[in-house]
């Protein structure tokens, strides 16, 4: 059964944002897969369109898109490191020691590459999108731009924050008398 790349991978591929290994691996699949070719074409079309549009009033979507790509990249990097280390383990069972050593060096270089690669992006995102909890509700904030995700119009809303990146607004529904908890996630 053919395993198709995730949509996020295709999106990065369409934008030329995949790393060397990811780009090679995805290209190899896309060349042979009509479904994924269509997906890439769709992302390319969106990319061209988005480039012509202004930021969303109230929130800078283009900046969020940057954040999105950075998050995907970080995830890919971590995944690559795990995959590399696992495949290295497998190789040690079937190949001579010299190959093991070479593989380990390659894995180390690869890991170093992937670890290094997103670092400048992270630094650039220091003032990026974050969640904000106020008496008015829970909002996505980007500098001075704010988009409300959960409105605090109900009375008696209890807000709580989790350091893992979750914010909760909890209130008693006036119609049902039930407690409802809205959870919003940073990532």
């Amino acid at each position: 059964v053919t395993k198709h790349p995730a949509e996020s991978i295709l999106a990065l591929y369409a934008g030329g944002d995949l790393g060397i290994v990811g780009r090679w691996r995805t290209a190899r699949h896309v060349d042979r897969c009509e479904r994924c070719q269509a997906g890439v074409a769709r992302f390319e079309a969106v990319r061209e369109e988005v480039a012509t549009l202004d930021d969303l009033p109230g929130i800078a979507w283009n900046r969020i898109a940057g954040e999105m790509k950075a998050n995907i990249r970080l995830g890919l990097a971590a995944g690559e490191i795990v995959r590399n280390s696992r495949s290295e383990e497998r190789r040690t069972l079937v190949r001579p020691r010299a190959l093991v050593a070479a593989g380990c060096v390659a894995a180390l270089l690869m890991a170093g590459f992937w670890l290094q690669y997103p670092a400048p992006r992270l630094a650039a995102r220091d003032r990026g999108v974050r969640l904000e909890m106020t008496e008015a509700g829970i909002a996505l904030r980007d500098g001075n731009r704010v988009m409300t995700l959960v409105n605090g119009r109900q009375s008696g809303v209890v807000y709580t924050a989790g350091a893992q990146g979750v914010m909760r607004a909890r209130f008693v529904d006036s119609e049902t008398g039930q407690v409802t908890i809205n959870n919003v996630y940073v990532e």
């Binding site: 949509e7 769709r42 079309a45 969106v46 369109e49 549009l53 202004d54 930021d55 969303l56 929130i59 979507w61 283009n62 969020i64 898109a65 954040e67 998050n71 995907i72 970080l74 992270l122 995102r125 220091d126 003032r127 990026g128 999108v129 974050r130 969640l131 909890m133 106020t134 008496e135 996505l140 988009m147 409300t148 995700l149 959960v150 008696g156 209890v158 807000y159 709580t160 924050a161 989790g162 350091a163 893992q164 990146g165 914010m167 909890r170 008693v172 529904d173 119609e175 049902t176 008398g177 039930q178 407690v179 409802t180 908890i181 809205n182 959870n183 919003v184 996630y185 940073v186 990532e187």
Partner: protein, 363 residues
């Protein structure tokens, strides 16, 4: 000019309930839900009411739904949980969804704009059904433990002192809820500073002892910079006889005027922790929190205090502090009321003492 699209059909909002789900969809009212295209993004304003029927054989105590427009970045995913239920087999669980989400304008144009799925259902015997992608099993089990604790408390007050004593206790609770000190909080993940400032200092946590806690905090610290705290980490030791797989620490900050605020909870990252009896481990979060008051005035952090607020044993049992322990540790005025306490006191506020007594006598 913004373009609006009403979200009123299954093609725009997909509700996924697995075939073997103990909850089935009875009705879905899409209300004034709509999608608005702005720039390169689509803002989805959801104002929906779902009715789910309990098809199982046990009472449902909690439900969590995952609501997703995209799951890659902030603003694309949320969840709605309804704890403190007691819905018998054949009964209906109403779930209200009032949220806004963001998605790219033309991502997967043929698919639905929003997908709503079941993350979990908790039953009265603490059995759980669902994919549990959001760790809703643990959250709902903890809310259920708090609910049992607080129902037992109000029932014991009623038994010991009658309706008048219950009324006094509920009024005290309502006063605590109204007077609970609050802060505005901003949170960013991955160690990203909310501001660009370098940390002023590394501050150590002081700890409040919670009698009966199966885990003891040993040391902890976070980077402080004005009104911002980053990268909290706390070392804990399992003092119980049972292995522990999850620890959550309550995080209190004190401002320069000596006022304490419940800032956030610091949960152990999922894979980080496995604490056999007597062993130590670390609770840490790569996160950054900034605190301010209502008008946006930054709150300068003077010191920090932590306390053990939740434990999950390796067998899935959940521990939460008792009310007596919270009172003795002077935390009852700081921590948020449990969902059940919030519901019961709201019932008293809206329908009076007799309705509350009737509710407490139900189970």
């Amino acid at each position: 000019m913004a373009q609006h699209l009403r979200l009123d059909s299954p093609s725009s909002v997909k509700i996924n309930l697995p075939p073997d789900s103990p909850l089935t969809l009875l009705s879905a009212n899409f209300g004034e839900s709509r999608a608005t295209a702005r720039g390169g993004a689509m803002v989805l304003d959801l104002h929906m009411q779902l009715a789910l029927r309990n098809q199982g054989s046990r009472n449902v105590r909690g439900v969590t739904l995952l609501v997703a427009a995209q799951e890659v970045t902030a603003g694309g995913k949320a969840s709605v949980a309804v704890p403190s239920l007691n819905v018998a087999p054949g009964g209906t669980v109403p779930v209200r969804i009032d949220l806004s989400l963001l998605r790219p304008l033309q991502a997967n144009p043929r698919g639905p704009l929003v997908e709503i799925g079941l993350d979990g259902v908790l039953f009265d015997n603490l059995d759980f059904y669902g994919p549990n992608r959001l760790n809703s099993r643990r959250s709902m089990a903890a809310w259920e433990m708090e609910a049992q604790r607080d129902r037992a408390h109000f029932k014991s007050v009623l038994r010991a002192g009658g309706a008048a004593a219950l009324q006094r206790d509920v009024l005290e609770s309502l006063a605590r809820q109204a007077e609970r000190p609050r802060l505005n909080v901003q949170v960013a993940r991955s160690g990203r500073a909310v501001s660009a400032a370098a940390p002023d200092r590394i501050a150590r946590f002081a700890f409040v002892n919670i009698p009966g806690a199966p885990v003891e905090p040993e040391s902890g610290w976070a980077e402080l910079s004005g009104s911002e705290a980053r990268a909290p980490q706390i070392h804990v030791r399992n003092t119980s006889q049972v292995p522990v797989r999850y620890v959550e620490i309550g995080w209190i900050v004190r401002d320069r005027q000596g006022r304490d605020f419940m800032a956030a909870s610091v949960p152990a990252a999922n894979e980080d922790l496995h604490l056999p009896p007597g062993r130590s481990g670390r609770v840490l979060q790569d996160t950054s929190l900034r605190f301010s008051r209502g008008g946006g005035e930054p709150v300068s952090i003077d010191s920090m205090t932590g306390f053990v607020s939740q434990i999950e044993y390796v067998d899935g049992r959940i521990w939460v502090p008792s009310r007596a322990a919270l009172r003795r540790a002077s935390l009852l005025n700081l921590v948020a009321p449990s969902p059940e306490e919030q519901r019961l006191t709201d019932l008293y506020r809206k329908k009076g003492l007799s309705a509350l007594v009737e509710e407490l006598e139900k189970f």
